[in-house]
Symmetry: C2
Subunit: 203 residues, 2 copies
């Protein structure tokens, strides 16, 4: 298998954590997405496999390409007979909802980042930045209220939340999410000691 990869993509990080946790990491060749991926200049090589021109994209041994990260993660978990996607039932719906929160934080944070770094300065719109960041903050508030119930749960839901928080640390240090969600920060710091998270921390 081959994975279009970038060490700074939080969605790729989800897949990498799954690969390491399931022991499948060595079976997947990492292909650097040449020049990265930009929403205003599609990466032609990636787009041959994923018309949305986004990473991660996983080329399976059957010649198919899978995306986006929830699909790839479920596929890997299935290959490994893993337990990161619980069987249908309350645990699965909770894990998938948490994955949606984590991916939603990332989608909003990425839009904030594109607004601030990609868009020409005179075309930036502060209401857009505020609206997207407000989704991030509301999500952090929900996580902070829920985090005491996480216990030792380590599945696609908590993995995605961890990758989202790691991305906020990586790209939005100045917004200091930790001050607003101290219990979440403590949970995240403990989880970050896992080898799979250490090995994939963006630098």
């Amino acid at each position: 298998m081959k994975l279009y990869h970038s060490p700074s993509s939080p969605y790729v990080r989800k897949v990498m954590v799954l690969l390491i946790e399931t022991g499948l990491d060595a079976k997947v060749e990492k292909v650097p997405a040449p020049g990265g991926v930009s929403p205003v200049a599609a990466n032609a090589e990636v787009q041959k496999k994923n018309p949305l021109a986004k990473i991660p994209a996983l080329m399976t041994n059957d010649g198919d390409t899978l995306f986006d990260s929830p699909v790839i993660c479920e596929y890997i978990d299935h290959l490994a007979s893993g337990k990161f996607f619980p069987a249908p039932g309350p645990k699965r719906w909770t894990a998938l909802r948490r994955q949606a929160v984590g991916d939603g934080i990332l989608d909003a944070a990425l839009l904030v980042r594109y607004e601030a770094t990609l868009r020409p300065e005179d075309k930036r719109w502060s209401d857009w930045d505020k609206g997207q960041w407000q989704k991030v903050e509301a999500s952090l508030g929900d996580i902070e209220r829920e985090v005491a119930t996480f216990g030792e749960t380590f599945d696609i839901g908590t993995i995605t939340l961890a990758c989202a928080l790691g991305y906020l640390d990586f790209r939005f240090t100045d917004r200091n999410w930790r001050a607003k969600a101290p219990k979440t920060a403590a949970w995240f710091d403990k989880l970050s000691e896992r080898p799979s998270l250490k090995a994939t921390k963006p630098a």
Copy 2:
């Protein structure tokens, strides 16, 4: 169960098609999202249930709220012992990949729409519009190459593609996707005769 709903949301439409197809429609109360949802002015009522302030959001009888549309659709399919999410295996990965293409078309098309209708005119950036629309067109190209293999397949993958194409008809008539993907248009027009799609067509 209660569903935050808007008749013009293509992601809500996916859920509605599933509800009608599985016979669960009558068991779900539709709650209009008051004032709709805007990425620059979060809907406070929706956000109490979904911190991302997006619809659809499904409040289950257990008191949980599920989102986003892939999670809600899988939950409904499970409740109904449906077959719209195939069991793990090639059919499932194909269906989920197609769902990702359809949702990806919608994500890109929505960003184009926000750029053109929500953002102040002097802050619009044509490269953003072009980059997002190019994802839509590349996806249409992939669908056009694949559509002859769809046959009678009607699962979460083809349902999502249909909702995406319906949204392009609804909001982007002027971009005339049908001219570029005539085989896809023929497939879509035939599928659109199903009662579940007729009943949910945005007006």
